[in-house]
Amino acid sequence: MTLHMDRLAQGGPWRQRALAEKAVLALGLLGLALVLPPWPGAALVLVAAWTSALAAARIPWGDWLRLNAAPLGFVLTGAAAVAVEIGPDGITLAADHGRAALAIVLRASAAASCLLLLAATTPTPDLVQGLRRLGLPVELIEIMLLTWRFIFLLQDAAASIRNAQEARLGWHGRGRSLRSLGLLIAQLLPQAMERARRLEMGMAARGFDGTLRLARPHRRVSAISMISIISLHLVLAGTCLWLA
């Protein structure tokens, strides 16, 4: 079983691009979304992130829209709280007519698109390897890489247990669903630990000393791409300050 985001990242055309290029593009845009005024700054970042994702990284439209819809529930609910005021007359529309809420929605949507651009074009192990180069403790990196592996193993195990429960009408009705979920989790946790124990034995037998060495094809950072990316950031920041 796979996760949708991981499938996009592993199979996309930007899989072969250097991590530094993708990280500087996406995180640079993310920084701009946060520090520039939401209008027009975040709007410009939103356009740049969507164009990069759809035209350059060629992420399919349907997938991209679905990914962007995921954070919207929280963003809209949170923004709704900012759009109203509690006063003596009860709940009323805020004095700024929801302008602050709109700014939050714009900034959060732009920022989320930037993170999605990075996540949907770069497999998580590549990002973890990047964090290692940035100086994160090696123990933490190993735990992260092993966690990533366990996610897929446990996802399969959880899906099998759930299928078996559904076949026995275990998810019919709220009470039974709660009980089934509890039993699923109770089943999954010892399974996770048992798998960990077996994996540990197998790796120890092969001389595992705690260091995970992964084959990582060398991808050269293109100077032209890097200059273009930084120029894009500068143009966006300049345009925003000129329009604001």
Partner: protein, 217 residues
């Protein structure tokens, strides 16, 4: 309850990152000590983090009809202890942001504080307190998971109210707004998570696996 990417202003995002960092650094130090003393703990710890991630992908039938997922805050604190949960929680939250678009990188500090620090410590404290008070185990487990969940929701509402104070009523008014809006989903979720955690701990205890797991991790 994850705060989504870009929702917090830059200053608040930085401040919460600074507040959470010492807890995570302390957790990493503890993790290093655990791995130095017992290198075999590496895989059980990773399995625990993977397990916490998978919990967020499981749908929880909520009382209001909306579907949400368990956070595993209380369960993780009971099984693995709150200090290690700060690191495992940070790893899980980063992966949730990258793989599920739940949370984000700039809001990681704020989310770590609510879900990997405040929630687990409250859950752990309640669990220990109920044990000392001699409450029945099921009630202790329920209260621990329920209040751990509730703590994450109250902390998140506080974080949002600090970032977006109400124009008229300031921080208090904003806290009331955020707390009441999110209560619709979070209060039933906390009850459901409390009940599910009781089923989990009962099943693990009945199989004699509760003690062994805590020891391994």
């Amino acid at each position: 309850m994850h705060i989504m990417e870009g929702f917090l202003p830059a200053g608040h995002a930085l401040a919460w990152t600074a507040i959470s960092t010492p807890f995570v650094v302390a957790g990493v130090r503890r993790l290093k000590r655990i791995l130095a003393d017992n290198p075999q703990a590496r895989l059980p710890l990773a399995a625990a983090a993977g397990f916490t991630f998978i919990l967020s992908a499981l749908k929880l039938p909520s009382v209001t009809g909306s579907c949400s997922h368990p956070t595993g805050t209380g369960l993780g604190a009971m099984m693995f202890g709150p200090s290690v949960m700060a690191v495992l929680g940070a790893v899980v939250l980063l992966f949730q942001g990258l793989l599920l678009a739940h949370g984000g990188v700039t809001t990681l500090g704020a989310n770590i504080f609510s879900m990997a620090i405040a929630g687990p410590w409250v859950a752990y404290g309640v669990w220990k307190l109920s044990d000392r008070l001699g409450l029945p185990a099921a009630i202790g487990v329920f209260l621990s998971a329920f209040l751990g969940d509730l703590a994450t929701y109250v902390v998140t509402s506080t974080q949002l109210a600090l970032a977006f104070p109400d124009a008229e009523t300031g921080f208090a008014g904003a806290l009331a707004k955020f707390a009441s809006i999110f209560a619709v989903t979070q209060a039933p979720l906390a009850v459901a998570e409390g009940l599910v955690t009781v089923v989990v701990i009962n099943a693990l205890t009945a199989r004699g696996q509760m003690h062994g797991l805590g020891e391994k991790a």
